[in-house]
Amino acid sequence: MRYTPELLIEAYRTMQTIRLFEERCILEFERGNIPGFVHAYNGQEAVAAGVCMHLSDRDVIGSTHRGHGHCIAKGCDVIGMMKEIMGKSTGLCKGKGGSMHIADFDKGMIGANAIVGGAPPLCNGAALTAKTLGTNHVAVSFGGDGSSNQGTTLEALNMAVVLQLPHIFIIENNGYGEGTGADYAVGCESLAERTAGFGMPAVAIDGTDFFAVYEQAKEYIDLARKGGGPSAIEAETVRFDGHFIGDPQLYRGENELDDIKKNRDCIKLFRNRVTAEKWLEAERMDEIDAEVAALIERAVEEGMNAPFPEPADLYADVYKTY
């Protein structure tokens, strides 16, 4: 496949935005500026970026508790996200949702989801809308290895096949569901094969390789747009942080984190490849780093300065009319 510099820059910017956003969330969480319960996506950037680059605002994604990366890749405003995560009234969801419940319907992002396995049935619905209205839009659900064992996910797979829905299931296998190994919790040898057993094309790819993700996603998304129905990608990836920010990660092996950060950092791997292939210059990427850093800085600053909701907001938006 031929990669234009524009595309590579966009990919790099997306991944780096996610990385710096998450690293900053970790910092601001530790500083007490972010309340609650946050699950960082750093390490998995190539998956969100490689998939979402094929999607327009009219295509829909559904996400997970670990949703910041999907939001950013789908085009959500990072400043609005940071405000949301800080519980501010000008956040993307007016501070009502927080980290685990970010959505931006204008961008086709129909929600992070704090219920493991929550999104796949919903994305069937979005795909059903596309099919019923005869658009060529698609839906993409993201879910982890852990979520693959949830009945809602498994039901959704079969339903997508039966109704031939344009829905691509992305299974991000980062090896863990909380502190439980995927090797333990997933009884079969291969999630891709188990999924293929439902009657849809499904493959496992290296999820730390942006190019592998990008190319496989393109194939399946194109297929869905053409009426070819659902498919699934198991992206083998790594999580750089704990299950949640603050997790002591006692389930990690010795040197595991050092090792994956050294050898399986999707952004490093991307930089290495594009510089080795001479597709992009390191300086150009450094420039982007600086731009992204400035954006994140601004997001935090605006986030900190943004107002909290008013008491009356507690009662707003339960219903349209009641």
């Binding site: 829909v60 559904g62 956040g91 993307l92 969801c93 007016k94 501070g95 009502k96 949702g97 419940h101 959505a103 931006d104 319907f105 204008d106 129909i110 929600g111 989801n113 219920i115 929550g118 796949p120 049935p121 919903l122 994305c123 069937n124 619905g125 979005a126 795909a127 059903l128 809308t129 596309a130 019923t132 209205l133 839906a139 009945g151 809602t152 039901e155 959704a156 079969n158 339903m159 039966v162 109704l163 707003a316 938006d317 339960v318 219903y319 349209k320 009319t321 009641y322």
Partner: protein, 348 residues
């Protein structure tokens, strides 16, 4: 507002229809009017992937009969037995541009789909900052009396009325069923539409045209000044029968059918109790943390000084629904128990 008042709103012809036909007609007419309305669920047509005919069932109670012939399998969608996936598909379709009417068949099946109802669809608007509409209807049948045993006979409406973000509709007659279904389809929030099993064949005059009944407006099915009876869903005909009987003795009852239990027309109930000072609530759900308790507590708080006797609730006992007909008949609030409760509040 009384039914007579409401009926005046609908113009044109009308005829006698069953509860089943009324809902069916509402679905037909709304699907004609709005191409984004779809119907999905198990056996909503029936016969998919078989050598027999399409529309083999048209819903296990025949409520969606005929739709597939006019609207095709594209808009009348039989599904696998996967209730979470059914409700999820409806919710996901609703917030992206369709108006799905999902059938859950027996409302007892919320057990295998509850997350998509209460944690997803119900919360979208609030947790996403007011942005999405989620115009979906979940249809299901409720109630005992059908000898279907412990896992197919529950009411369970208190469980969903408890949940912010859901609206809950419980028609007690064919007229209301049609108008409320049309309102439910046009509503921009998730609506739970509960059909009482043994009412499907009940009949009344129903306009042929489209008409809506607003949510949160109770109907006074009987008017009187001695006792207020609030009755829910299948209990309304029973309450009416008791009121008619007692009228013969000179005891006059307001019978109030809230029609929607979320929102609930508190005002009408309070107004009536301010006059009668006595309240009996009849609901087939189990008694603990129930709608009957809810209404009782609201009235006891807001009309405290008007109450001349303790409020009486006539509900199912704190037991599952037994299969054996003799027990099932005792489980459901009987006219005798309702009548006794009315006499009790009059004597207290």
């Amino acid at each position: 507002m009384t039914n007579t008042a409401k009926q005046a709103e609908a113009t044109g012809t009308s005829s006698i229809k069953t509860y089943r036909q009324a809902i069916n007609e509402a679905l037909f007419q709304e699907m004609r009017r709005d191409p984004t309305v779809i119907v999905l669920g198990e056996e909503v047509s029936g016969g998919a992937g078989t050598d027999g005919i399409d529309d083999a069932y048209g819903g296990v109670f025949g409520v969606t009969k005929g739709l597939v012939h006019e609207f095709s399998r594209k808009r009348v969608i039989d599904t696998p037995i996967s209730e979470s996936a059914i409700i999820g598909a409806a919710a996901g379709a609703a917030c992206t541009g369709l108006r799905p009417v999902a059938e859950l068949m027996f409302f007892d099946f919320i057990g295998v789909s509850f997350d998509q109802i209460f944690n997803q669809a119900a919360k979208f608007r609030y947790m996403f900052g007011g942005k999405p509409n989620t115009p979906m209807v979940i249809r299901a049948t409720v109630g005992a009396g059908w000898r279907a045993g412990p896992q197919h006979s529950n009411m369970l409406h208190p469980v969903v009325a408890h949940i912010p973000g859901l609206k809950v509709v419980m028609p007690s007659n064919a007229y209301d069923a049609k108008g409320l279904m049309i309102s439910a389809i046009r509503d921009d929030d998730p609506v739970i539409f509960l059909e009482y099993k043994t009412l499907y064949d009940s009949k009344c005059e129903v306009p042929d045209d489209l008409y809506t009944i607003p949510f949160g407006e109770a109907s006074f099915t009987r008017e009187g000044s001695d006792v207020t009876i609030v009755a829910i869903s299948g209990m309304v005909p029973r309450a009416n029968a008791v009121a008619d009987k007692l009228a013969g003795e000179g005891i006059s009852c307001d019978v109030i059918d809230p029609r929607t239990i979320s929102p609930l027309d508190v005002e009408s109930i309070i107004e009536s109790v301010e006059v009668t000072g006595r309240l009996v609530i009849v609901d087939e759900a189990n008694e603990r943390c129930s709608l009957a308790a809810d209404i009782s507590s609201i009235v006891a708080e807001q009309a405290f000084h008007a109450l001349r006797a303790p409020i009486r609730k006539v509900t199912a006992p704190h037991t599952p629904v037994p299969f054996s007909p003799v027990l099932e008949d005792l489980y459901i609030p009987s006219p005798e128990r309702i009548e006794q409760a009315v006499r009790d509040v009059l004597e207290a």
